[in-house]
């Protein structure tokens, strides 16, 4: 795993130049890369490209009608951001449950997205918020940007649509419609430093006693964080009384395809999905 070259570019074009031709490992917060490379789960390329000093990848601001979260935004920065609290409080909720203070101070949202863990803490709220990933490349001397809907970003455990010569620049969250509410719940064995057994996020525009434009996302129950289309269809317009909530929770239980692993059995995860869906919908109905 010896690294031959180390680069710490200070601009986006320079960083993209370093990624051309492959063989580069991208370093941001390092909180996943360091332990994973030491454990041999990630093979470091011959070049280590540290993107932490690329200013284009930083900052949290309102831009082009979206909340733009620079890929280098740390969990702590997201937690402290007034923009996030106003426009995407469900994301702040997930960051608050993320690992520990020391790790929140280093881990970046770009790293959480690019690592594409099925249990990645920020990924469920980003799906509920209908966020997009902004990717940059420099194929022929010019920097090119493309935006990919969040639901199309994850292609498998640890895999995304990002090409080897591309860099994730930012996450863009559309500004929510009036009346949009969203909740996030993560279930693990202890509050801190735990990888979710199940994470769920539900959002939508409150309309009477139901949700319109309902979005439901689950983490740690499939190879990638997923939008639950059948559950969304069941939830759309359903009156959130006890019977309505029970019906939606049953659809959610049947829609997920979890596995047995060290954190929970598939059966237990299905029960969790059903019970947590019921709890979150109860909260939304009360809110």
């Amino acid at each position: 795993m010896a690294i031959d070259h180390y680069h710490a570019p200070t601009s986006l074009p320079e960083a993209l130049e370093r990624l051309r031709g492959g063989g580069a490992t991208i370093l941001a917060g390092g909180t996943d890369l360091m332990p994973q490379s030491h454990a041999g789960r990630v093979k470091l390329g011959p070049a280590l490209v540290n993107v932490r000093r690329v200013p284009e990848l930083g900052g949290i601001r309102i831009d082009d009608g979206t909340l733009r979260l620079g890929a280098l935004s740390t969990m702590s920065e997201i937690l402290r951001s007034a923009f996030v609290r106003e426009y995407a409080p469900v994301l702040a909720e997930a960051c608050d449950h993320f690992a520990s203070d020391q790790i929140r101070n280093a881990a970046t949202i770009g790293g959480n997205v690019c690592n594409a863990s099925p249990a990645g803490d920020t990924l469920v709220p980003l799906l509920v918020l209908d966020a997009e990933a902004e990717l940059a490349s420099k194929p022929d001397g010019e920097v090119k940007l493309r935006r990919v809907p969040r639901s199309a970003v994850f292609t498998g455990p640890g895999r995304t649509v990002r090409a080897r010569d591309e860099l994730l620049c930012a996450i863009r969250v559309p500004l929510p419609k009036p009346g949009f509410v969203a909740r996030f719940v993560k279930f693990g064995t202890r509050p801190a430093l735990d990888i979710s057994a199940v994470a769920i996020g539900i959002g939508g525009v409150r309309s009477g006693r139901s949700l319109a434009g309902a979005r439901v996302a689950f983490g740690a129950v499939a190879p990638t964080p997923m939008r639950a289309k059948a559950t969304e269809a069941a939830l759309e317009g359903t009156v959130l009384d006890d019977a309505g909530i029970a019906r939606v929770a049953a659809v959610a239980r049947d829609e997920v395809r979890p596995i047995d692993d060290v954190r929970a059995s598939a059966w237990y995860r299905k029960e969790l999905v059903s019970n947590l869906t019921r709890r979150v919908l109860g909260d939304v109905a009360q809110a």
Binding site: Y6, T31, A99, I103, A192
Partner: protein, 157 residues
């Protein structure tokens, strides 16, 4: 044979140069290259907080940071923190409250408490517990550690 790189950064207030292997962690640089062993190596994967240091004012796990990424930054370890009044107050409170048993987690606990208290001078007990949720102690069971941090907020009494 690892490739190395010469880096320069401010360590405990002193401009420091070090030649570090490219894949080395800041923890291994501090302990094995520079010889500051107050920062402890325990889990090596960010789960225990024994290696907590401060980088540009933020509390982080030294085992998760690449040493080369310290280039140009300001790093404080327990050896540097020991000189400031807040850390001295925490240290005294740890002693008075019996918050140290084997002592292995203590430098990380003190670093994390110091960093947290600098911006949260009057925390509740629950807030203290959350602040140190990334620091594991296998001896005392936390009650005395939380007592000590609470006392440090009140001036060490």
């Amino acid at each position: 044979m690892s490739h190395r790189r010469e880096i320069e950064f401010v360590l405990n207030g002193v401009v420091t140069r070090a030649s570090v292997p490219l894949e080395a962690s800041a923890l291994s640089m501090l302990r094995d290259v520079i010889g500051l062993t107050g920062t402890k190596y325990a889990c090596g994967e960010g789960e225990c907080g024994a290696c907590t240091i401060e980088v540009d004012g933020a509390s982080v796990c030294a085992c998760l940071q690449f040493a080369v990424d310290c280039e140009g930054r300001t790093v404080t370890t327990i050896e540097g923190a020991a000189r400031d009044p807040l850390a001295a107050r925490i240290e005294r409170a740890f002693v008075e409250h019996g918050a140290v048993q084997c002592g292995f987690c203590t430098p990380g606990m003190v670093m994390q408490a110091r960093n947290w208290l600098a911006t949260h001078p009057d925390p509740t007990r629950e807030e203290i517990k959350r602040a140190i949720e990334g620091n594991l102690c296998r001896c005392t069971g936390y009650v005395k550690i939380v007592d000590a941090i609470e006392a440090a907020c009140r001036g060490g009494r």
